[in-house]
Symmetry: C2
Subunit: 332 residues, 2 copies
Amino acid sequence: MSELRRDPVIGRWNIIDTESPAGIETFEMEPQVYAGGRCPFCPGSESITPPEIYAVRPPQSPANSAEWQLRVIPNKFPALRIEGDLDRRGLGIFDLSNGIGAHEVIIETPDHQKQMADLSVEELTRVLSAYKARSLDLRGDTRLKYALLFKNFGLSAGASLEHSHSQLIALPIIPKRVQEELKGAQRYMEFRERCVYCDMLGQELQDKERLICENRGFVAYCPFMSSFPFEIMLLPKTHAADYAKQGPESLVDLASLLKETLLRLRSALNNPAYNFIIHTAPIEPREREEYHWHLELIPKLTRIAGFEWGTGFYINPTSPELAAQALRASAV
Amino acid sequence: MSELRRDPVIGRWNIIDTESPAGIETFEMEPQVYAGGRCPFCPGSESITPPEIYAVRPPQSPANSAEWQLRVIPNKFPALRIEGDLDRRGLGIFDLSNGIGAHEVIIETPDHQKQMADLSVEELTRVLSAYKARSLDLRGDTRLKYALLFKNFGLSAGASLEHSHSQLIALPIIPKRVQEELKGAQRYMEFRERCVYCDMLGQELQDKERLICENRGFVAYCPFMSSFPFEIMLLPKTHAADYAKQGPESLVDLASLLKETLLRLRSALNNPAYNFIIHTAPIEPREREEYHWHLELIPKLTRIAGFEWGTGFYINPTSPELAAQALRASAV
């Protein structure tokens, strides 16, 4: 018998196969083979990318020259553009606006061969600090309401270039998914006067069977109501709504636990494609006391089909208990 | 510049590339190659499937014998099982229940070579009537709150077997996505005292540029706020909440327009994988006057990545205006 498990924040019920769970060997991993040719993200290609917005480079090294450790550039094929007016308007029954926003690429390392999991804790801290710096900088633009930080790794997870990179898309509206989390967290706060994420963390720490690893500041676990096989949550132990308000120590802790998690995932599942997303509070003057930022990591192992489109629920063939066990046992 | 367009029902904003839209040639179509071996859905394989629940066969032909035109069987590997108690319960902060429900397979034709688009209008009407009959039958089970009818076509859209089939999953809860549509339709009804789907249809008929085809009872169009390239909506012209309350004439009209739409899609996009889902009212005593059932068809042309997981919004590289134009121009 499978189980139906409910997400306490957004109310989504997933079907989880706890009876005859799919083991690691059952996933058809798509090959992640990229075409050759000149990589626009490698040192020496600076002239073929848009000019950099942010970089970590030695003192006196000029912008857009080749000696850098990290670069942030506008996406050459942006989903949204920073120039222009939003012009929100109606069209008969419909609502629309111009596609205003920011779309930036964080080139995490000059080394084309390195995956994010291969970066040192120091290098990875640099990446996470760039996320923070860019998020803070975009807050100056009052048209923007949300900064989404995410990473697509591997062709089948949507990364069109192989060179290790993440993305930032800043939007003129608070996304639907974020609204759902904010609303769920607020409803729980009104009812219990506690944070739903803190309570979930407490429960996961008590149950133990879904934990992967932890350090001073963060815990990595496979959530009870996981939508996907090997879905992973990285949650700060301290209640905080805003990724960009983290101090330097917290960024080092996150880098260290993210690296460990990525290494475990790579060895447990033979280098799967994945997406990770930082869920953080919107850009707005008020504090979201009820919210708790987190990083969600989803390996690309299953396909979305009619059931998922029709219900908004997911069928997860691997229980989080089994996934966490495999991740705990895998090499770092 | 792209456009942000809002779904008037569920409030989702999609980013639609109206500036340099992706043409048909840019989609990487995954090959739909199935392994060989004995097909469990072909005539003669009845003994290796679970016993049939419903069938269209000649008079005097015994159940589970080989002379049939259509069969409905329980899924051999069901996501949910019909036997047992729901036993909804808490587990610390979490909610869960047993995986109770129904999971049935509608084998649409005995002919392994035929795709749904190849079925005659009469054969397709038989399929749509089976959907109706099974939906009505499951209403007797008071544990069930929703019957989801859907079809996955092609490996990359999640169909694990090649032989043409659809599925029915009946759930003990009203799915999140359905709740969102019901709520949106209700909110609009309270505000405007009209049906949001009827109003959208009126707008699409007036604007014309997103229409594909229509007949006496139904209209097929690419919605203004399409999440996906070549997304198609089939909407009944007459306001009605419940798929299963359609009369026989309406089923023939739907079969005829669905066949035309599938043929246009196959020729426009070189036989793409797709999902379709019937969105209909929940199983409950009250009438949902505010709702309007519909069929949503999504060809599998793009990948879901970090942006979509993080926001609940979609980036659609092909405007519905362009898609509808291509579908209108394609051969039937």
